[in-house]
Symmetry: C2
DNA sequence: TATGATACAGTCCAGACTGTATGTAAATAA
DNA sequence: TTATTTACATACAGTCTGGACTGTATCATA
């Protein structure tokens, strides 16, 4: 009667995979809650409920763990963004829903808190900066086709370079969300955020329109459904 | 012939004042260069070229120093913003100049780097958050009258609440700049920032106009010229 | 089943950081 | 001048962190 023995026989790959997942999840959690500097190895392994040895076995040093967590983080955001894009597929007021959903499901989440910690840390860590750069690039590679899939230049806009314009407007959107997210906790009136989202939506509607009759999901790259870990 | 003796007799208040300035300047510098977590008391006093005892004499603990540095930082930004607002006083393309100057002289500076460090730290430090909140409020109390002094709702805009609209558009502006500043180091193409500034300027010009013939400086609150230290 | 590889646990250590305590010089007050 | 407060300097104590190191359990393979 071995009550303690788990007796679940797992393959080495399964064990490693599960352990790495626990460590990465704990790291991202810790980044969001305790910040970059507060995310010590000790606190992370405590949060993950594993030993110090497990961490050192899978990640030779702290930077390796952080980098992998950053990758994990961006991959999650990537998938969340995908869900957001799909969720606004057959709406009438598509832009408004997209704005709202992007804020609520992406920027007003612990995930973005963790990301912003990495962002400021990357100001002084070229390796981390390069990693974030590459990941941002991948995210935009998904977002931009989706934007073109759903939206078009508003008629009568005398703007040259339609495609570039849409991209610029959505880059503006991301900057606005980033700025809002970084300051939102200082606003005593939470309605400010809603008002800002509404304002941008109105402005954007001046230069773009949702394509009519688009009921298919946006282009979905292959790596979309790739598992979180390589 | 006392070669070493400085023999400059200073009053106690002068000594304290000078020392505090050195400490605050070093702290803000350190925040910008080494980040919040990297700004240790040891590194700050080393940067300031003073001893550990000087710091502990003027600031009982780290938080007190950081809080005072935050105050100093916001006060500097406050004055810089004032200079920016005055510098665009008699320009024709006032909005464009204001945008450019605000970016270059405020957000693309080490000062804002330091501020952004405090901003993320304030996510987990309620005291710091409250301090930043109060100081932001003071800054906006200067900025908003200046905005109304220089700009007006564009004619033919069917928007209710002119005053509130202008405020919202400039809050959008500040969020955009904050977002840009937090990510700018990831953009490999520095032209992105310029393009974004241009884009926002164009959009803002749709809803506002520079008042004609305004050649007086914006309202200048009394505390404007108050010295940095109380 | 025997042997080696992999996964994980727990501990130790050198360095760094903050706060404190004590000592000295400079300025003000008496 | 002398006494006393203020400004600064130095030394130290306690805590924490990240990396190294050793030992044990689990899995793969022959």
């Amino acid at each position: 009667m071995s009550t303690t023995a788990p007796a679940v026989r797992r393959t080495q790959a399964e064990r490693s995979d599960a352990m790495r997942r626990r460590l990465l999840a704990a790291t991202v959690e810790s980044l969001a809650e305790d910040g970059y500097a507060g995310s010590t190895l000790s606190s992370i392994v405590r949060r993950a409920g594993v030993s110090r040895g497990a961490q050192v076995h899978h990640y030779p040093n702290k930077q390796a763990l952080i980098l992998d967590a950053a990758d994990d983080l961006l991959r999650s955001s990537y998938r969340t963004l995908g869900a957001v894009l799909l969720s606004v597929a057959d709406e009438d007021n598509r832009l408004e829903m997209l704005v709202k959903a992007t804020w609520e499901q992406l920027f007003a989440t612990p995930l973005y808190r963790a990301y912003s910690e990495l962002l400021v840390a990357s100001q002084r860590d070229p390796v981390l900066a390069e990693a974030l750069r590459g990941m941002l690039l991948r995210v935009s590679k998904v977002f931009e086709p989706a934007v073109e899939h759903y939206f078009m230049q508003a008629p009568g806009m005398p703007a040259p370079g339609t495609r570039e314009n849409l991209k610029a407007v959505f880059l503006q959107f991301s900057c606005l969300l980033a700025g809002l997210a970084s300051q939102a906790h200082l606003f005593n009136d939470p309605a400010y955020v809603a008002a800002q989202l509404k304002l941008w939506t109105r402005q954007a509607q001046l230069v773009m329109r949702a394509r009519k009759g688009v009921r298919t999901p946006p282009p979905r790259p292959a790596e979309w459904d790739r598992p979180v870990l390589d």
